[in-house]
Symmetry: C2
C-alpha cells in the first residue's frame, strides 16, 4: 500500500527557493511564473530568498517599439558577459494581454545567448495580479538576484505610468529613441526628464539622428540640476553594428559610481524597500479579506448591492475594515 | 468675541457634493482635483453622489499621440450636443508626470466649447494616488454623472496597461488609428482585439488609409465571435472636415443598443462595481494602516529593516495584518 503523499505545492514551492539559491535556472523560471500568476504560492519562497538580495546593479532600459531596443540590449549583454558579469533580463511588456508573443520572443532571444549559462532572460506580461506589474517585476528581480545575477536589466516598452513605476526599481535608467520619431519625443517629454539617467539615439546612421540628439538635449536643458547632480548624457549607437556600445557601457558604469558615491544608492534602497513593503502590504490585506472574509458569495452580494446603488463602495469598504478589527 | 470656526475642510467637501448635484461645474472641478490629489477628502462627498450615478453612457476613446484624437472627440461632442445630450470629457494622460501640459490643453479646448454649459472637460494626469489612475478616473466619472452628464467620454493615450484598466470603465470603446502607423498596429495588436468595440482610421484622406483599414480588419478576423456577438466595425474619418462622423455616432448608438439588449450592460455594471469595490477596499485598508498604525516613524523603521535585510516585506506585511486583527 502506498503512503499518502504530502501536498505537492507547498513542498515544491519551498524546494524551488533552495534550488534557486543553488543556481537552478529552471527553478527560477518556475518561481517567476508563479509570481505572475499565483502570487499566493511565492510568499514563502520569497521570504527565503530575500536575505540573499540587494546587491545587484539594476539597469532599466526603455523605449518605444521599433527603436531597436532588443538588439541594443543583446549587444550590452555581450559586453557585460565578456568582462565576466552574470546577467538577468526581465522584459516587461504591459501592452500585451497575451503572453504568446512574449514567450515566442524569449525563445528567439534565448537561442542567441542560449549556450551561455550566465544569461537568464524572462518576459513578463502580467495582468490581473492584485499588486500589479510593478509587484511582479520586483519579485522577478528578487529571484534573479537570489540566482546570483550581478546585473539585472529591466527592459520596458514606452514611458507610460507602468514604465515609470518599473523604473523605480532600477538604479540606472537608459531611454532609447530613434531618428524620425519627433512626435514621440514630444509625447515622452515629461516622462523622459523624470526617469532617464542616460539617453541613446539608436540607428544613429540614419537621417535625422542629429535632430533627435539636439531635440533631446534641448528638453534636458530644462531640467534644473544642483551642484554635483548627475547630468544625463545623450549618446549615439548603431546596435546592429555595435557602434557606440563601449561608450554606453562606460556611461552606465560612471552612473553607478556616481550613484554610490553621492549616497543616492542608500536613498534608492530605502525608496525601493518602501515601495516593496507598501505593495506587498496592499496585496496581503486584500488577499486576506477576499479569502477569509468574502468567500462563499459574500463578495458577490456586496458587488450586487453596489451595482443596484443600495450601498456605495466607500461605505462597503469601511464596513470590511470595521469587521477586520472586531 | 468670535465663535470658534468648525473645521473648514469636511464642511466644504460635503458642501461640494450638494453643489455638484445642483449642477455647479466649479464644484465638480474642485471635487475631481481632490480625487486626484487628496483622496481622503472625497470619501464623504462621493458617498453622497453615488446613489445618483450609474445611468450615463460611458465611451472610451483611445489612440496614440498624433492620430487626431482631440479633434475627433471635439467633432463627436458637437454631434452629441446638437441632439441635446449633455457631455462630460475626462482626458486621461498617464504619460505626463506634470499636470501643466494637461491643464493648458484643457484651457485651449474649453475655449472651443467654452460658451456651452452642456460640455465639461477635465484632464487627469494622476500619479501617486494609492488606488492608482483607474481609481481616480472612476471617481471622476461618478462626479460627472452626479453633475447630470448623460454621455461621458474617457479619452486615453495609447493602449498600455493603464488604458486597458480605464477601458473597463467604458461601455463602448473606440480605438483611433491613422495611416502610416503600421508598426504601431502590430504593437497594439493584442490590446486592440481585446478592448475595441469600434475602430476608426482617422486622416482617411491620406495615403495608406486603405492599408491601415485592411491591416486592422485582418487582425480583427483572428477574433473568435460567437452567435450574436458584436463584430467591431472599422470606420474611416477625417476629423478636420467632419467626414465619417455621422457614421461613427451611428455605430456608437448601435453598440449601446446591442450592449443593452444582450444583457452585457448588466454584466458591465457588476464588473465595474467589483472593480470599484476592490480598489476602494485596497485604498481604505492601506490608508488606515498608514495613518493609524504606522505614523510616528513606525513606517520608516519597517522600511529601514527591509532595506538592511533584517526582515522581508512579506513577513513585515503579515505582522501588520496580525496586529490589525488583535
Amino acid at each position: 500500500m502506498k503512503k499518502p503523499l504530502a501536498p505537492d505545492r507547498p513542498h515544491s514551492a519551498n524546494d524551488l527557493a533552495e534550488r534557486v539559491l543553488a543556481g537552478d535556472v529552471r527553478a527560477a523560471a518556475r518561481l517567476i511564473s508563479l509570481a505572475e500568476n499565483e502570487p499566493a504560492q511565492i510568499r514563502s519562497p520569497l521570504q527565503k530568498l530575500f536575505p540573499h538580495t540587494g546587491k545587484a546593479h539594476i539597469i532599466g532600459i526603455t523605449g518605444a517599439p521599433g527603436v531597436g531596443k532588443s538588439t541594443l540590449v543583446d549587444q550590452l549583454v555581450e559586453r557585460l558577459r565578456s568582462r565576466g558579469q552574470s546577467v538577468g533580463i526581465i522584459a516587461v511588456d504591459p501592452t500585451s494581454p497575451f503572453t504568446g508573443g512574449a514567450i515566442l520572443a524569449d525563445r528567439l532571444r534565448m537561442q542567441r545567448h542560449g549556450t551561455d549559462s550566465g544569461v537568464f532572460i524572462r518576459s513578463m506580461a502580467t495582468r490581473g495580479r492584485l499588486g500589479g506589474l510593478a509587484r511582479a517585476t520586483s519579485d522577478g528581480v528578487t529571484v534573479m538576484e537570489a540566482l546570483g545575477k550581478e546585473v539585472i536589466i529591466l527592459e520596458t516598452v514606452g514611458v507610460g505610468q507602468d514604465e515609470v513605476e518599473v523604473a523605480k526599481y532600477a538604479q540606472t535608467t537608459v531611454v532609447i529613441l530613434a531618428p524620425g520619431l519627433g512626435d514621440e519625443v514630444q509625447a515622452m517629454k515629461a516622462g523622459i526628464m523624470e526617469i532617464g539617467d542616460c539617453f541613446v539615439v539608436n540607428k544613429a546612421d540614419r537621417e535625422g539622428a542629429d535632430r533627435a540628439v539636439s531635440q533631446i538635449q534641448s528638453i534636458l536643458a530644462l531640467k534644473e540640476l544642483g551642484e554635483g547632480d548627475w547630468s544625463p548624457p545623450v549618446l549615439r549607437t548603431v546596435a546592429t553594428t555595435g557602434d557606440g556600445l563601449e561608450e554606453l557601457v562606460g556611461t552606465i558604469d560612471r552612473h553607478l559610481d556616481h550613484f554610490t558615491a553621492t549616497g543616492e544608492m542608500e536613498r534608492f534602497r530605502l525608496l525601493k524597500s518602501r515601495a516593496d513593503f507598501m505593495s506587498v502590504l496592499e496585496e496581503t490585506l486584500s488577499q486576506y479579506v477576499l479569502e477569509e472574509m468574502l468567500s462563499d458569495g459574500a463578495l458577490e452580494r456586496i458587488v450586487e448591492s453596489i451595482a443596484s446603488r443600495e450601498v456605495d463602495p466607500y461605505t462597503a469598504a469601511e464596513e470590511i475594515l470595521a469587521r477586520l478589527q472586531a
